[in-house]
Amino acid sequence: MAEHEFPIDRTAILSFAAAIGETNPIYWDAAYAKATPLGDVLAPPTFGIASAHWNPDYGLRGPRRIPARRPAEPKAESPPRSGGGPNLTRVLHAEQRFEYKKPLQPGMKLTVSRRAGRTWEKEGKRGGKLHFAEEVTEYRDATGELVLVATSTSVITGKAVDQ
């Protein structure tokens, strides 16, 4: 199980809310948010995914060099891959689920832990053999309380998925 930090700040929330086309002031307007029971700006429901910025092992981080990568740990049952890293042309996101325990707000210093979940295979209709893999991510605040649980299911396809 790998852990990393995920500090929550208003600029990252603003940038994320803007990218998903939000207009709701709860995501950026501190004065508006202060007058609500939440008391401060809130992160959108899918913001937890942006913890990728702080994940040194994140496979889709492009040419970025920080945070520094950790030495790779051998995995017992990793799905088939071509070359060293993930095959970026064939990994698709199949499912995503979030369970919300506490509001995600600026100033929180979260600890994120990831663990592999179930894996399974399925014969695809048009994309060849499909390899599914689940990853469960837990987000805990500074007191150790659970804030968010994210479960992500990836699928590795045999060829480009037809439209």
Partner: protein, 142 residues
């Protein structure tokens, strides 16, 4: 229940109540790139047209599934309020391409006496094809 900013009460909702929201018209590559930057997902399949077409064999770049999931949540939060969701999950059933226009629909499936409600969500493209389907749970005042 932790702090939240509900916009309606469970007692005001009935099973079958639904809301629709146009999430985006003519999705731009720029918005997809904004999402890459904000989320940290720099898979070139979402921003590099040459990679997406020549290396990966797709007709063009396409949106991150999580961009559509993020946009889709708006139909729930604009309706029900902020910080009220207790669960939200989707399946990515079809890719979303630049130029797509997406509409999300949320439908109430369960109204609990304790204020816990459940919904189905579906987001469709301009051809009426579902691109994302899912479920959500929310905790509202009774």
């Amino acid at each position: 229940m932790t702090a939240a900013n509900p916009k309606c009460k469970a007692s005001e909702l009935r099973v079958g109540d639904a809301r629709e929201l146009v999430l985006v018209e003519n999705l731009s590559r720029t918005q997809i790139v904004m999402y890459a930057g904000a989320s940290g997902d720099f898979n070139p399949i979402h921003h590099d047209e040459v990679f997406a077409t020549r290396a990966a064999g797709y007709p063009s770049v396409f949106a991150h599934g999580m961009l559509t999931m993020g946009m889709t949540a708006r139909v729930l939060t604009d309706w029900l309020g902020d910080g009220v969701l207790t669960e939200y999950g989707v399946r990515f059933v079809k890719q979303v391409w630049p130029g797509d226009t997406l509409t999300a629909k949320g439908t109430v499936t369960v109204v609990g006496g304790d204020g816990a409600i459940e919904l189905e969500v579906v987001t469709t493209n301009q051809a009426g094809e579902p691109v994302v389907t899912g479920r959500a749970k929310a905790q509202l005042p009774r």
